[in-house]
């Protein structure tokens, strides 16, 4: 059907739109149009039969989906996506079963019942769908805090997992070779159940830090499930879309792993990788949660900002990041962003330390402000960009009488809409050697890297 191809093309265009924020919303619209075409085509080619029931079903589903999407807090996004995946997985299982039960409707009925190849496709679709479902449920539970985020490790889980997978494959083969409802039903039923189970088993051992990767991976699975059903039904739209979602999800997980320095293999394989878990947000001192970002995130937000205040500290000096910083500021200014430098009286290790370095990088004196002159401006700033400073932004200086820095005036970076904090590690502390609440604020994104390297990457990403 040409229409299905067109739907597929629209889906491709939808993803393509996301290559830049400017075209992203148009991309989303393309996705909607594609879906509309697919749905309408299907209805039309099937004589718009059973429209009332179908209409009601879509209305119910649509209303629920719409309301959830509206109500949900932005912060609950990851679990929402995980939850949605589970639905796709379950739908795939249901469609698979429907096809199994009513092969004629799908044009699968040959003289000898359903052809083995169709049965393999069907079995795979159901299995992948079931894995997607149960895996997503676990991911949802972990992300929404309904289940502990820490990995749950069964003993001998490697053996169990491998065994279950093998069993699924064997069952699929038996299912394909068997003929007649009586012979096939037990196989497909067992296969479905086992697939649900393996989905649980694969995700349960994965820790909270890896969940985003898992969600993306499950996304990929849901694509493969759709593609498998597409093969069964010979439906171009489903094949294209399934392959698209499947491969893009896989690559996305890979990209995410790379950004987090995690092994892709271990995450795909789910529970198998739990041994070398940890990393990421799991290792904060005292386990306080923080958000880690990348140069691309920072570049993106900086570009969007109207006003950025840069707070350099000793770390900038150590990294000798002043030239890169100046370049970053220049690029932002070219894009119409207002950039100011806020210099704390004791930033660095000698009086005027920051001034020396900024002057070396030819930062104009007009853009350099003292604490008293700029502190009130954080409330209007979109981004506070902290580069290698620490003590001078530590709110403990105001609130915690026992802190060694109590009484020192500090920058009120908490008033800025977004805070980026460049330092090399969560472990490192400033001169005063104390922890800093700014790391853990909602609007703070930690950029953990050498300051010069990070700023250079941001400069590249800004292009």
């Amino acid at each position: 059907m040409l229409a299905y191809l067109i739907a597929g093309v629209f889906f491709i265009l939808a993803l393509r739109g996301l290559s830049s924020p400017a075209s992203s919303r148009r991309g989303n619209r393309f996705g909607m149009v594609g879906m509309l075409i697919a749905v309408v085509t299907t209805l039309v080619t099937h004589d718009i039969a059973n429209l009332p029931e179908i209409g009601v079903a879509m209305l119910i589903g649509g209303a629920i989906g719409f309301i959830i999407a509206r109500r949900i807090a932005m912060t609950a996004m990851p679990e929402l996506v995980a939850g949605f995946h589970s639905l796709v997985g379950l739908a795939a299982v249901l469609v698979g079963w429907a096809a199994y039960l009513n092969p004629a409707a799908f044009g699968l009925l040959t003289a000898t019942g359903i052809s083995p190849i169709s049965k393999i496709e069907m079995g795979l679709g159901i299995a992948i769908g079931a894995i997607t479902f149960s895996g997503s449920v676990i991911a949802f539970a972990k992300l929404s805090g309904r289940m502990s985020g820490s990995p749950i490790l069964l003993p001998a889980r490697h053996v169990i997992n491998l065994g279950t997978l093998a069993a699924i494959i064997v069952l699929t083969a038996l299912f394909a070779m068997a003929t007649g409802p009586d012979a096939t039903l037990p196989y497909i039923a067992a296969l479905t159940v086992l697939a649900f189970i393996i989905g649980f088993l694969l995700i349960i051992p994965i820790g909270g830090a890896d969940m985003p990767v898992v969600v993306s991976m499950l996304n990929s699975y849901s694509g493969w499930a759709a593609a498998a059903m597409g093969f069964t039904l010979g439906n171009t739209a489903m094949i294209i879309t399934g392959a698209l979602v499947g491969s893009s999800g896989a690559i996305l997980s890979y990209i995410m792993c790379r950004a987090m320095n995690r092994s892709f293999i271990s995450v795909i394989a789910g529970g198998f990788g739990a041994d070398d878990s940890g990393g990421g947000s799991g290792e904060a001192k005292e386990q306080r949660p923080y958000k880690q970002g990348s140069a691309a995130d920072a570049a993106f937000m900086l570009e969007q900002a109207e006003k950025v205040i840069i707070i350099p500290g000793y770390g900038m000096a150590v990294a000798q990041a002043q030239h890169a910083l100046r370049e970053m500021a220049d690029m932002l200014e070219e894009k119409g962003v207002e950039v100011k430098y806020a210099i704390h009286p004791v930033a660095g290790r000698m009086p005027g330390h920051m001034n020396v370095l900024l002057a070396e990088a030819q930062v104009p004196y007009e853009n350099v402000f003292e604490l008293e002159d700029i502190n009130s401006e954080f409330a209007q700033a979109d981004v506070a960009f902290i580069i290698g400073a620490n003590d001078v932004v530590n709110p403990a200086a105001k609130t915690d009488k026992s802190s060694p820095i109590y009484g020192m005036p500090v920058f009120d970076v908490g008033n800025a809409k977004q805070v980026f904090f460049i330092k090399r590690s969560m472990g490192g502390v400033g001169y005063a050697g104390v922890d800093n609440d700014v790391f853990y604020m909602d609007q703070t994104m930690m950029l953990l890297s050498d300051a010069k390297k990070m700023v250079e990457e941001i400069v590249k990403a800004l292009d």
Partner: protein
């Protein structure tokens, strides 16, 4: 509440303990400020400027009469302060170890001497720390003065008439003054290396783009050292350091020394024999000269020439940038009194941590622990 500011009487002292800016701020706190006529001349501040800021101008006697607090850069002779209220505070630098007699005289006069050099090195006292603010300027000035004395240019210049190579500057002692000296010399285009005994300074040297040169064989002081202070080093260390310096110094054009050990004579870092290995026309600036000097043969406020090398150093280097030095010094004093200002009593009330640290004399007695230790 009356605050008195006298003209500094020490020779070569151009600084002043209050500027029109701080006079105004004290006024805003509710204090009356009296300034001796001509006190600001050395720092390019006219009497009118003080008057405009709300100060009363007069002779020393008139100014001190009934004063609650006397501010000084270098502590005045207590004889000058007879008119002040009994138990009046005198906040200034006292050089308590070097001028112990003066401290005793303050005790006898019944004055409360607050020695700004004894300000503890804690974060909240940074804005009151005159040692930091003055060393910073001294570090800068030392380089400028050396550059002016040196018979060559600091930066590298490749010109049609050939290349002028960059001066090699070596900074010994990387505290506040040393760091600023590094920064200034770097700015001028010199090739800068530096050394210290505290290991944390290595990274700090690099953070200014200079090259650290450290004793490797014997361990120095780990990290920042307690309170950022160095201590006397072991004989073994000193030997290793001397070897290092001997190897390095012959290739240097400018050496700036800033090494101090609180409460003791400055460590001797450069011997006459080492000076003899330097190129003719080289310059050594000894910032520690007032504390006995890091360099053999250096004399305060005198340019000595040995083996063709000029050795200079002022007893009071920051005082040679009198305008800025006075501005920072007087802000330190204001920050100090302001931090402890009690709205109800209309006067400052010190806390223990800082008060006990800086107070030398009270009720006729020398009360400071550090002076008891050494006395």
């Amino acid at each position: 509440m009356r605050i008195a500011i006298l003209k500094e009487r020490a020779t070569g002292e151009n600084r002043v303990a209050a500027t029109p800016e701080t006079v105004k701020k004290f006024g805003a706190l509710g204090a009356d400020v009296a300034v001796e006529a001509g006190a600001g001349t050395g720092a390019a501040i006219t009497d009118e400027a003080y008057r405009d800021a709300g100060a009363e101008l007069g002779s020393a006697d008139a100014v001190v009469r009934e004063a609650d607090i006397v501010l000084g850069v270098q502590a005045p002779d207590p004889a000058l302060l007879q008119g002040a209220k009994p138990g009046a505070w005198v906040a200034a630098t006292f050089d308590p170890f070097g001028e112990r007699d003066r401290v005793d005289a303050y005790a006898q006069a019944g004055l409360e001497a607050l020695s700004m050099e004894f300000m503890p090195r804690i974060t909240r006292a940074q804005s009151m720390d005159v040692l930091s603010s003055q060393s910073n300027l001294a570090g800068y000035k030392a380089v400028i003065a050396s550059a002016d004395t040196y018979g060559r240019a600091f930066p590298m210049m490749m010109t049609a008439a050939g290349t002028v190579s960059a001066a090699k500057v070596f900074v010994m002692g990387v505290g506040v003054a040393g760091l600023q000296a590094i920064a200034t010399a770097k700015r001028l285009g010199a090739q800068v290396s530096a050394t210290d005994v505290r290991s944390a300074t290595k990274e700090q040297i690099q953070s200014l783009g200079a090259k650290p040169v450290f004793v490797e064989e014997v361990e120095g002081i780990e990290g920042e050292g307690s309170g950022g202070y160095a201590t006397e080093m072991s004989a073994e260390y000193q030997k290793a350091q001397a070897e290092l310096v001997s190897a390095h110094i012959a290739k240097q054009d400018i050496v700036i020394t800033t090494a101090l050990i609180p409460g003791r004579a400055a460590p001797r870092l450069i011997s006459d024999a080492q000076i003899a290995t330097m190129r003719e026309g080289s310059v050594i600036y000894d910032l520690a000269v007032a504390q006995g000097g890091n360099v053999e043969g250096s004399k305060p406020d005198e340019a000595v020439e040995k083996h063709g090398v000029k050795i200079i150093g002022f007893g009071n280097t920051a005082g040679h940038l009198a305008a800025d030095a006075s501005a920072l010094f007087s802000r330190n004093l204001f920050n100090f009194l302001n931090a402890f200002w009690d709205e109800e009593q209309h006067k400052p009330v010190l806390d223990e941590e800082i008060g006990d640290a800086v107070r030398l004399t009270k009720g006729g007695k020398v009360v400071n622990e550090r002076l008891h230790d050494t006395a």
